[in-house]
Amino acid sequence: MGKTLAEVERKTQGNRGLSFKFDLQAYTLIIALVLIAVIFSVFTSGEFLSSRNISNLITQMSVIAVLAIGMTLVIVAGHIDLSVGSLVGLTGGIAAILQVWQGWGTFSVVIAAIVIGAVLGLWQGWWVAYRAVPAFIVTLGGMLIFRGILIGLSKGQTVAPMEDSFKQIGNSYFPYIPGYILAVISIGLLVFWTLQNRKKRKQLGLMIPAATLDFGKVGIYAFFILLTTYMLNRYLGIPVPFLIVILFAAVFIFISNKTSFGRSIYALGGNQEAAALSGINIKRSTLWVFITMGGLAGVAGVLLTSRLNAATVSAGNMYELDAIAACVIGGTSLVGGRGKIVGALIGALIMASIDNGMSMMNIQAFWQYIVKGLILIVAVWIDISSKK
């Protein structure tokens, strides 16, 4: 009987190919980014792609990018966080108050901002995970509450100026030589990991992608790393906020791909009931997603206060929408279960490019809102129609 069954089996089974997947979404994103760069370069006679502007651009996007990293996890888990803008304002405000009014040192201030962000995230996560109040409502409440606390604590005043060491976080640059060393180290790691992975797959008897493909990819990444470093070094070096973004992105990409916490986020966003019956602790994972988001909002708050050298009551206003837009443009599905941090970073870069390019062209601010809104709608439309 077994034999006859085998004969009937028409399609081959299992682990057959590791073909080069045509990831339409990734290409659409990159094409969009290139298109935006080309258009703005033409209209600003090349100024858009100058070293100075690229340096400004990636510094400007850093706050939203940090938020978008956390927001990707929240949205993939099937939730939303509308409070991050207020939380950025509140944590940044507390940092300023502790330093300017209480005289705390920079290090303790930074830690305090991140811890407070994480604790407030925990509080919201508890409502969502253990009290089953929809995240939309909890974080809408949080948005009002946190803004309220900020206005109360700061008595409606702008708190400034910060100490030099604090200002450095958002406004300094990683100089020329160390910048290149960093670039070379990261390329070295890339090559090492690729080799490691190939070796292990071989040991386990799995298919190995063609060497040209694997190392072609490494080559492309290496080219871009060096190009970016070169461009930034032509100005003042690698901006520290950009390094912070890269650091957090690397950590969270690792967590989302390589740890059971990361896997459980995707599983519970994709199908909560199946995930629960597979032994995943849904509530605890949800709670941790919000703690993470809160902590990252604290990081963003520090960055923002540092860059502005002040905390205002309206700081971070509407940032949640920019962060959500960055995720969605980057291909994160609002239904949950699908999305990548890299995509969200590119999304954040696209949003920042539009702001930056349009200001350079002296287009009035109202147009920026309109264009960003349209791009958001079109991005989702492309995503939906590409899946048909």
């Binding site: 009987m1 077994g2 006859t4 069954l5 009937v8 089996e9 028409r10 399609k11 089974q13 299992g14 682990n15 057959r16 190919g17 590791l18 073909s19 997947k21 992975n197 292990k200 797959r201 040991q203 386990l204 008897g205 799995l206 791909n257 390589k258 740890t259 059971s260 896997r263 995707y266 599983a267 994709g270 199908n271 009931e273 199946a274 995930a275 629960a276 019956l277 597979s278 032994g279 995943i280 602790n281 279960g337 699908r338």
Partner: protein, 507 residues
């Protein structure tokens, strides 16, 4: 003129990379019940989607003739206007709306420009009577049983002047008594001249109901025969293209005297304190297949989901695993104790459809592919590959999303996932529901293999032949209690049905 209600000639439908239908011919006489059979993926649904206008004219080749007239449907609306009504496997009712609202959804009866509710209720009453359903048209659909909802779907199709009624697996989710009501209704409709196309995997129903049977295989028409010339065996062999000598490959095997799991006086209560399970006591032995039979709503799934830690609410009683008393409060505990539960609804409780095969396979035992708390991708792919090829999974590659697989292959992914946890007791809740004959057979083979390795297997099934065909021992449940227990040799359909319907207790 030979009276054909429907003729589909030379239908060819291609999807990127596959030819789903290859020159299919399908003719249905007026007023007959015509069964359409085939394995999953044979092209039945695609053919019906063409007929009902889901795939508009121009996206396929060939012609459709209804009542002697050539038709070219551009959308579903046009096919409905031509009298084609389709009832899908998944019900398409709005649960929050009333029966009457559902019946006339999209074609409400109007007086001027406002909805005439009185008329709708009156008409709804009439059409409910027509299908022999005695309920208030203002009942919320969500409050009805699945069986009744299915009948409402039919009533809904009939409110729209339907000549050709297509039923896609209508009895997949129905209880035996609801199936009987449905079959009675279809017989009545035939007497009234409605033509029915009946798609089903349940060949017993096909034999009892159909006038003729068309069989599809791999996108081609294999045959159309009057029912008198067919037997279940013949249909099956035409569907799979080979002789199937036995439907249930039961192999006698050694049952150990060791108890893996022992449940004593186990009761489960819902949030209102009403008992769902009353004082259940039973054993699962090592290397034994224990069948659980009973009518829908008897509490079979609830008992085992609760034992697996997936049900909230108060519980009393004792559970022993390997002779040790254990307390299972959540699925994590159950997995640690060596229990695995394959749900009856694999899409909802078994799989993350948007995830790929590998990740679904390792979801319940991620620790087995982790080193130092970090997932080892290569090891993960290797383990998933080993298990899925043991399951004879058919998929383009392991990175394919499970949502794209057929029911049988999805079930194999779920099985792989649970085997990854090395279970001592594997609970299979309706393991072959909605799965085609070939894949069913493979799943039975896998069950045999596992038992011979010493796993204790529990099969919960609504299909009596499956329970009788595969089990070493059968428990019967009724209204939350275990009402009967039979060894393989002594179990018969009649005895089981007696206990399932609340008959007296057997030893």
């Amino acid at each position: 003129m030979d009276a054909y209600a429907l003729q589909m000639k030379g239908i060819v439908k291609e999807f990127p990379g596959v030819r789903a239908l290859d020159n299919v011919t399908f003719s249905v006489r007026k007023g007959e019940i015509h069964a359409l059979c085939g394995e999953n993926g044979a092209g039945k649904s695609t053919l019906m989607k063409i007929l009902s206008g889901v795939y508009p004219h121009g996206t396929y080749d060939g012609e459709i003739i209804i009542n002697g007239q050539k038709v070219e449907f551009k959308n579903i609306k046009e096919s409905q206007d031509a009298g084609v009504g389709i009832i899908y496997q998944e019900l398409a009712l709005v649960e929050e709306m009333t029966v009457a609202e559902n019946l006339f959804l999209g074609h409400e009866l109007m007086r001027g420009r406002v909805i005439d509710w009185n008329k709708i209720y009156a008409e709804a009453q009439k059409s409910l009577k027509h299908i022999g359903l005695n309920i208030d048209p203002q009942t919320k659909v969500g409050d009805l049983t699945v069986g009744k909802q299915q009948l409402i779907e039919i009533a809904k199709a009939l409110t729209k002047k339907t000549d050709i009624l297509i039923l896609d697996e209508p009895t997949a989710a129905l209880t035996e008594s609801d199936v009987e009501i449905l079959m009675g209704l279809l017989n009545e409709l035939r007497a009234k001249g409605v033509t029915c196309i009946y798609i089903s995997h349940k060949l017993g129903e096909v034999m009892a109901l159909a006038d003729s049977v068309t069989i599809l295989r791999d996108g081609r028409t294999i045959s159309t025969d009057p029912i008198e010339e067919l037997t279940e065996q013949k249909i099956v062999s035409k569907m799979v293209g080979r002789e199937l000598t036995e439907l249930f490959p039961y192999e006698p095997h050694q049952i150990s005297s060791e108890n893996i799991m022992e449940v004593r006086d186990y009761s489960v209560f819902d949030d209102k304190g009403k008992p769902l399970i009353k004082n259940a006591s039973f054993l699962v032995k090592k290397g034994e297949i224990l069948g659980i039979s009973g009518l829908m709503g008897a509490g079979r799934s609830e008992l085992f989901i609760s034992l697996f830690g997936g049900l909230k609410g108060k519980r009393t009683g004792t559970v022993l695993i390997d002779g040790k008393e254990t307390r299972i409060n959540k699925p994590q505990d159950a997995i640690k104790e060596g229990l695995a539960y394959v749900s009856e609804d694999r899409k909802r409780y078994g799989l993350v459809l948007g995830m790929d095969i590998t990740k679904n396979t390792t979801l319940a035992a991620l620790n087995k592919v982790m080193k130092l708390k970090i997932i080892d991708d290569a090891l993960e792919v290797k383990k998933a590959g080993e298990l899925t090829s043991k399951m004879k999974l058919k998929a383009p590659n392991l990175e394919a999303k499970v949502g794209q697989l057929s029911g049988g292959n999805q079930q194999k992914v779920v099985l792989s996932k649970w085997l990854m946890t090395n279970p001592k007791v594997l609970i299979l809740d309706e393991p072959t529901r909605g799965i085609d004959v070939g894949a069913k057979y493979e799943i039975y083979k896998i069950i045999n293999e596992l038992v011979s390795e010493g796993v204790g297997i529990v099969i919960i099934s609504s299909e009596l032949p499956e329970v009788l065909g595969m089990s070493d021992r059968v428990l019967v449940m009724s209204e939350g209690s275990i009402t009967g227990e039979f060894l393989r040799e002594e179990a018969t359909q009649e005895k089981i049905m007696m206990c399932a319907t609340g008959g007296k207790k057997h030893g």
